[in-house]
Amino acid sequence: MALKTSWIISLKALRRNKLQTALTMVGMTIGVATVLTMIALGSGAQAAIQDQVKAAGMNLIVVKAGNYQLQQDRLPDDAIEPAAYYQSPGSAPRLDSGVYVPGAASLRRSFFHPEDDPFAVHDHPTSRQRLGDSEAGLGSAATLTISDADAIRQISGVQYVSEGVHENAHIGYQGQRWFTRMHGDDVSMPKIKRAWVFTHGGYFTKREEAKAEQVVVLGGIVAEKLFGKDNPVGKTVTLWNQSFKVSGVVSSSSWMVAPAAGDDEFDAIYIPVTTVQKLLNLSKLNDITVTTVSTGDVTRVTKAITDLLRSRHRIAFRTPDDFLVTSQARKALTGGGMRSDVQRAVVGNVSGLEKVTLEQLGKTLDRASATMTALLASIATVSLIVGGIGIMNIMLLSVTERTREIGIRRAVGARAQDVLLQFLLESITLSVTGGLLGVAIGYGVSLFISKILQWSTQVSPLSVALSFGVSAAVGIFFGYYPAKQASQVLPIASLKYE
């Protein structure tokens, strides 16, 4: 007998007992929906962690002006944070302006800067005033320039380069003032910070940067403090008594990093680096942010940048760098910017973090989240099995209940295998229909969870295929035994059964 005919018979049989069919199916639906939702949550968390790591800058290299680590020793295996270098009193670095003193470890100024003239009168706070005694520290030494950044752009494997000048600033709008962090950056910054989303407007343009126009992008917190819920795009804010046009508002796209007052990213404003340099009369940069095309390339590019800058800065052999190249991975893990529990999990799982390659780190993260997914999936599998046993229970019951029906079918010529096929198809239809409904509901619940709870979920085609396949398998597995029982009912016994 054709499979299609058997299936029609099964459907008719199922239709005869609508309530029972529906209830059995609900069991399966709940099972599959649970599995799908659990896997969606698990793999969503996995993806979120990976995004997070990327957003935190697994392919990020930051070149900072100045170097407080004059000598980098090999670190012990279990070191987590490199020890800071402490100057012994006798060998304090000499800050002879612009003059290179060979032999002794020293920081040096690469060239004369107008701010360095003690007699000059400035219409803005000088770096000395702003930063006080820490001027000579990391990021404030005037060793990096825009032409350094342009040179780094030429290195192969480099994706984006952004010059950076960072200051604290008061930003004002109609009497409201807010003290925040000002970043002078390149247009490529949104591409480097992948976890950014523009709630209003957009970033400033390359043209605006080239012409050093007075445009500003507000962090979400700043926009909220100054404008409340209004759209600030196109409004004019004041900064250093100058007018700046707001071009956009930036916020976090990741639920793991919520913008908060005092953070460096969203309680901040972004201005073209050229504008900052023009207004503040600066030629130096605090840092240069570099991303590589591939995360595996970080080490090579780091080395290339070091070589390039040493030759550009004419630093002699065995003389320490006047800049510091750090890849962001370690800083991301130990220096904040990541959810503390994720960070703890990673740091706790990796010994000798300093030596861990990015690849290893990524694998550790994958393992951690794979374990979570497996846990969720195994919990959900229990509910699938419960659904399957529900189907088996109903099918066994209906074999007894429908002995007469089976007898009638056998009397009019159904073979044992026809009966087997009918009952098997019934249970498969139950489980697969229930499974399909479950996929739909699970998908809906996942969407609902990610929308309402802001948890990231991910429904992959694989997990849909898996849930569907498992439900079909459950139908066959738990349906076979009752179907076999049905097929063994004797034609004569069934007619006597009342």
Partner: protein
């Protein structure tokens, strides 16, 4: 009369049931020939073995010993699948309890044998043939009704339509009028008699009522698993004639 092969031929058929410690001898070495076109009625008290005989004739049960030739073929040697195919194509059943599928329309019930036929039948052909069979028993207007919406007589007519769908050579009826009032009983007997006359179908009818047995052309009496009498019926009742005389008790409403 014995020049051609009988439709049913049983030789020394024995059936013994094991009921716990006791062996019940339902049939004790029964031999019987039934020719094509005969309307045989089997009478006997309950426990006489007549139902067991019918189950074996209908290939629903296997004999303990003995042989059963259906159309010259020994069906006691066939596999389960082959026996199923024999039931499907050669035998039609009518039962006392109608044995229709519940919560299923009359049409679908009648279609049932076609679903299990050796040759696939398209849905439209199934429907056409089932409708024709329903029309033959006068129920074409009620094809959509579920079995529980039909009267006993109507249900039995649906069962007859189902039994005849594959044009079987034998129609086996087990107490077909047991659950019916006297008028519908006569109606059913009328259908049987006209089937015998018009289509030449061999009918074996089992009953414990002698007046129902009187509709047959040959009456076989059973007692304690053996045949006690086997004779042609001289005073055959004709259902058609009687129908006119019985007043209609149940008014059929469409």
């Amino acid at each position: 009369m014995t020049s051609k092969i009988p439709v049913i031929s049983i030789r020394n058929l024995t059936k013994t049931y094991q009921m716990g410690e006791v062996a019940v001898h339902a049939l004790r070495s029964v031999s019987l020939d039934i020719n094509a076109g005969e309307f045989v009625t089997v009478v006997g008290p309950s426990g006489s073995g007549k139902s067991t005989l019918m189950h074996i004739l209908g290939c629903l049960d296997q004999p303990s010993r003995g042989q059963y030739f259906l159309d010259g073929k020994d069906v006691s040697r066939l596999s389960d699948d082959e026996v199923s195919s024999v039931r499907n194509s050669k035998i039609g059943f009518v039962f006392q309890g109608f044995n229709l599928l519940t919560r299923t329309s009359a049409l679908e019930n009648v279609e049932l044998p076609l679903l299990y036929g050796a040759n696939p039948v398209s849905a439209s052909e199934r429907r056409n043939r089932a409708m024709a069979a329903l029309a033959a028993v006068g129920l074409e207007s009620r094809y959509e009704h579920h079995t529980n919406q039909l009267s006993g007589g109507q249900q039995q007519r649906v069962a007859i339509a189902r039994a005849l769908l594959n044009n079987p050579s034998i129609l086996l009826a087990d107490e077909p009028t047991g659950n019916l009032d006297s008028r519908t009983s006569v109606e059913v007997m009328d259908i049987f008699q006209s089937l015998k006359e018009e289509r030449g179908i061999t009918i074996v009818l089992i009953t414990h009522e002698p007046d129902v047995a009187a509709y047959g052309s040959r009456i076989i009496a059973f007692k304690d698993g053996v045949i006690t009498a086997d004779e042609l019926n001289g005073q055959r009742r004709t259902a058609r004639g009687e129908l006119a005389e019985i007043p209609e008790v149940v008014q059929e409403t469409a």
